[in-house]
Symmetry: C2
Subunit: 426 residues, 2 copies
């Protein structure tokens, strides 16, 4: 496995020919593999098949609440309690609703645009300009929400322990139109980054020119460990309150990757002021969420231990797939000098950085060889990765044998794109 950028032109040509041959042979197999999205596999979904017949005949009361009827805007109290322990907030400040958290994030932004949040002087739509900080690489669906509402996205580097706080602090202190930052604080999408205690403290404490600035704290992978080390991060709600910024964090989470991806429950958790603001908004759009599904979740999960036990089973299915990708990358790309990648301890993604200017070509080559990847650029605002280098790898959905094949296809595409690029540079 040669260091490609140091090869002589002749050696590079012959290495390229050899990779070309291997790539063509792979393409001929005619595989059809998909690593595009963070979808749970069938095996993972099977873990919760009990939900298909829960809560069960005659079981519809939660305390004195008939789950079949209207009401309970904030969700079933027992489920709010259970999820409060997962998200580090008291139960009275947890709202359970919808079937996933993306809707809650979208609506938090939409409501702010239409009405302002509880610290705003006016609706954001009445401001000349609204901007959000976007740590990159990041999650494309966060960026789509900003794009939908004409919110300017300012990319900030995502470092080892979270967003580059020197950059963040300077920006938010100097620009009152910056109203938010997207954060996936644990096992970040797509890098697997875990925010350090220092980063979390600085986010909670920093001075913001906008009084109504918010952390959009998407704790999507709170319990989604890939190793025996169950990493815990600092409690953002507590840190914000302690630093005199109690309303700063909107915390989001869901059971989408705990139970059923399409039929889970979403969580909004925040300060008293934010929760009261949010409830006032959603009482215009709903009489209450699907409490039968909430009861179903309560009966299945029971308590925080139930969640942890279930997540161990997810890990047993997921970890070998991640290991297989990392092993394949290590073996074939390890010392080539044309790729680097993250080694996440949780979450759903690996970030693969290829040679500058090669990501789009790698995705194209992989697709032509039967391996579909997330479009290059998706990890950046407006799909624009200025270095054309970052690729998100999502190994959760295919089975292990397919993941092994797909990783091989990716490796060959990376090597082919790199050698072509180096040859063209001449």
């Amino acid at each position: 496995m040669p260091q490609l950028p140091s090869l002589s032109a002749d050696d590079l040509r012959s290495y390229h020919a050899q990779i070309r041959q291997r790539y063509d042979a792979f393409a001929k197999r005619g595989v059809k593999l998909n690593l595009t999205r963070g979808k749970p596999s069938s095996a993972q979904l099977d873990l919760c098949n009990q939900l298909l017949s829960l809560p069960g005949n005659g079981d519809f009361m939660a305390g004195n609440i008939d789950c079949r009827n209207y009401g309970e805007l904030a969700g079933l109290p027992e489920l709010r309690s259970l999820l409060a322990t997962v998200f580090g907030v008291t139960a009275d400040r947890v709202i359970v609703g919808e079937n996933a958290s993306l809707s809650l994030m979208h609506d938090s932004v939409a409501f702010s645009m239409l009405k302002g949040n509880c610290d705003s002087e006016r609706p954001w739509s009445k401001e000349s300009r609204i901007a959000f900080l976007c740590p990159v690489p990041g999650y494309d669906r966060h960026f789509s929400i900003c794009q939908e509402f004409g919110i300017e996205m300012i990319a900030v580097p995502l470092n080892e322990g979270g967003p580059d706080m020197d950059v963040v602090e300077k920006l938010v202190a100097g620009d009152a139109q910056i109203k938010g930052i997207w954060c996936v604080p644990k096992y970040s999408n797509p890098t697997g980054t875990v925010y350090s205690n220092e980063t979390i403290e600085r986010l909670a404490k920093m001075k913001t020119a906008a009084r109504d600035f918010r952390l959009f704290w998407d704790n999507a992978y709170a319990v989604h460990h890939l190793t025996a080390e169950r990493i815990e991060i600092a409690n953002i709600d507590e840190a914000c309150a302690r630093n005199g910024n109690p309303n700063r964090a909107f915390i989001f989470g869901s059971t989408s990757k705990v139970t059923f991806a399409g039929a889970g429950v979403g969580v909004f958790a925040s300060s008293k002021g934010n929760v009261s603001w949010y409830l006032k908004r959603i009482e215009k759009r709903t009489i209450g969420g699907d409490k039968v599904n909430q009861l179903r979740h309560l009966r299945l999960l029971k308590n925080a231990d139930g969640v942890a036990t279930l997540m161990d089973k997810h890990r047993a299915i997921m970890a070998p797939k991640f290991d297989k990708v990392l092993e394949t990358f290590g073996e074939h790309l390890g010392s080539t000098g044309v790729a680097s990648w993250t080694k996440p301890k949780g979450g759903y993604f690996i970030t693969l950085d290829v040679m500058d200017g090669c990501a789009k070509q790698v995705v194209k080559l992989a697709k032509e060889a039967g391996v579909e990847l997330t479009p290059a650029g998706a990890t950046h605002p407006l799909g624009n990765d200025p270095h054309d280098r970052t690729i998100r790898i999502a190994p959760s959905f295919p089975d292990l044998a397919e993941v092994a094949q797909a990783a091989e296809g990716v490796v060959l595409s990376v090597l082919l794109a790199a050698t072509e690029k180096l040859l063209a540079k001449g």
Copy 2:
């Protein structure tokens, strides 16, 4: 049962004393009855208890779609087909999502505010003023959405066959800021009004100064008959298309009062252009609705016949309650000259009109006697019934014996308020 306004002062005083005595006796019973909201009763919810264990173990595929996983933004094709027949639109123009239609109505307005609809020149929030026509009496949750977004509400009279079309046509032709009208075309909330074919044709055909004007067509009670006569109204989608206004109607519906009030499915149906616009909006907020719940509904309802059979069972529970209220009103208020009421052939409500200036007092007296009613004024924009005369009666939730008692309490409150008013007038 005397004609109260024609009584002599002496007769009125003695009649008042007698009513006062009966009212006090009723209040002493210490009942606690609630006629405030259109909630199904437990007996109705029991009709669908199968949903509590559906779709059942191992049943999660709809065709080649794994209902447990992400995807299918517009909902399960089979359920879209089933509901298309109920709402008179082709299946490709039906979107199924959320657990009720209120959310879809809210979002249609919110999306229009933020982005404009597919015929708008700009987002409605960028207009100096937005107004909606509100046939009165109407549904308070419609009005709350307008209030939330600062939309001016212009009350228009609701007559026997629907909104007063002379008034409506004149208003929408002359004011380009009027962007919508709230319509509950069948068994209207709260009057039970059924829109005539002529009204529907005129709504579809009328010239509107606003190109992006929309009918917010809340067909909440499409299959919710109270008599053997299953009234069918004209097809609004077809009428709009035929009159060259294909995008005019946003059609809403749900299974909230077919299956479980809190755990049903909502429907948005419209033209190709509107559906495409709506999908572009919701793809920012969701990866898809709860397809397991959609599958559950498919397994329970099966087809349009399944819906009709189920609705007959609802009717068997609901109709006696309505009959009891109407019988009690007829017996005690019939020839008093101080009240009139609607005799709905479907839906969830009876509208009771009392003497001008008495509705608030009736609601207050009823409450003090243990019978909670929807607040007076709720049937009008901003809670302001200029005549203080209209009361919404919702007899669905209590059981039949309770409904009988509650109707008695209402009757006594109406008579007490009327005699007091007449005495005060002297």
